[in-house]
Symmetry: C2
Subunit: 163 residues, 2 copies
DNA sequence: GGTAAAATGTTATAAAGTAACGATTTGGCC
DNA sequence: GGCCAAATCGTTACTTTATAACATTTTACC
């Protein structure tokens, strides 16, 4: 019943996956989602989202800033943090608090949710949306009479490609 | 089988619990554990551990520093961070990365483990050692062929007293 | 095309964490 | 006791991460 979840969708990004397509899909999802919500995906926000998606390694705000700086955009920390705030609200990126860094969201629109697998060798991160983990958390919390609003689950280890 | 876990031990700290005893127990556990390991629980480290245990609200390194400052100890950030590093290694405190703060460990000696319930109303945090959650995480990771080394689980919500 | 709201630019600063090195204390050994 | 090496702690300076406050520009809408 809770055997294999997300047969492909949630899989750890392989070294040889089609990343161009990966980004393109994420961007078109973002456009569609923002259009549907009437949220304004401006050029700056679009660019920040692209930068976050450049690879699957969580990227710090100052790393994003450094990329923007090479592109002639005059920018300072608030520029990036504001764009990230928007993207977080829209569920287009996630913040990994164990790394102080950001990754693209593989299931756009679901702000705050998800669990993350972080490879300590290659640095890549993958999002898991495992209902078994969700349920275990809700259940564990309930056993303490605690009402769950949200959770941060960041799992460190070694990814398939790095084993 | 995975019904109620830690009937009392892991329970969220109640407003009316005997906190003096709570701290005293934690301190004597720490002394015992360090003695057994030959680890040096110095006066400074002892004091930092006490400060972290002053209540069940996660406390930032600079908060600890502020307390030390009122006590005449000349101190700077490294003083606190080094003491915390020792306490983390010994499994006497935990770091909550979603808060950049530290809490006492309710099961001394188990460094790195555990899940945390954090009340968004009163700010208290409780440690859970739920084998169901552990298993769900290992299983979810395994489904992606990912080898787990450690995890950060921080659950935000409302505690029993605050409901 | 004028206006209010949203987004972005800019400056300054807060908060969290670490590097490097010197001084002091501690535990073991003679 | 007295000496030495290692561990601990003090101190200064700095890096990284994040936000406050306010000016300017852009956008949507009438």
């Amino acid at each position: 019943m809770t055997g294999v979840q997300q047969p492909l969708e949630g899989a750890f990004p392989r070294r040889d996956h089609d990343h161009v397509r990966c980004v393109a899909d994420a961007m078109s999802d973002a456009v569609r989602l923002c259009r549907a919500r009437g949220a304004r995906l401006t050029p700056l926000r679009t660019r920040v989202l692209e930068i976050v998606w450049q690879n699957h390694k969580p990227l710090g705000a100052y790393g994003i800033l450094a990329v923007l700086a090479t592109e002639g955009r005059s920018s300072a920390p608030p520029t990036v943090y504001r764009a990230l705030e928007f993207l977080l609200e829209q569920g287009l990126v996630h913040r990994l608090s164990s790394l102080n860094a950001f990754v693209g969201c593989s299931r756009p629109g679901h702000a705050g949710a998800g669990q993350f697998l972080i490879c300590r060798t290659c640095g890549n991160a993958a999002e898991l949306n495992d209902s078994g983990i969700e349920r275990a958390i809700i259940r564990g919390a309930a056993s303490q009479d605690f009402a769950v609003h949200g959770h941060t689950v960041e799992i460190s280890g070694v990814c398939p490609d790095c084993r």
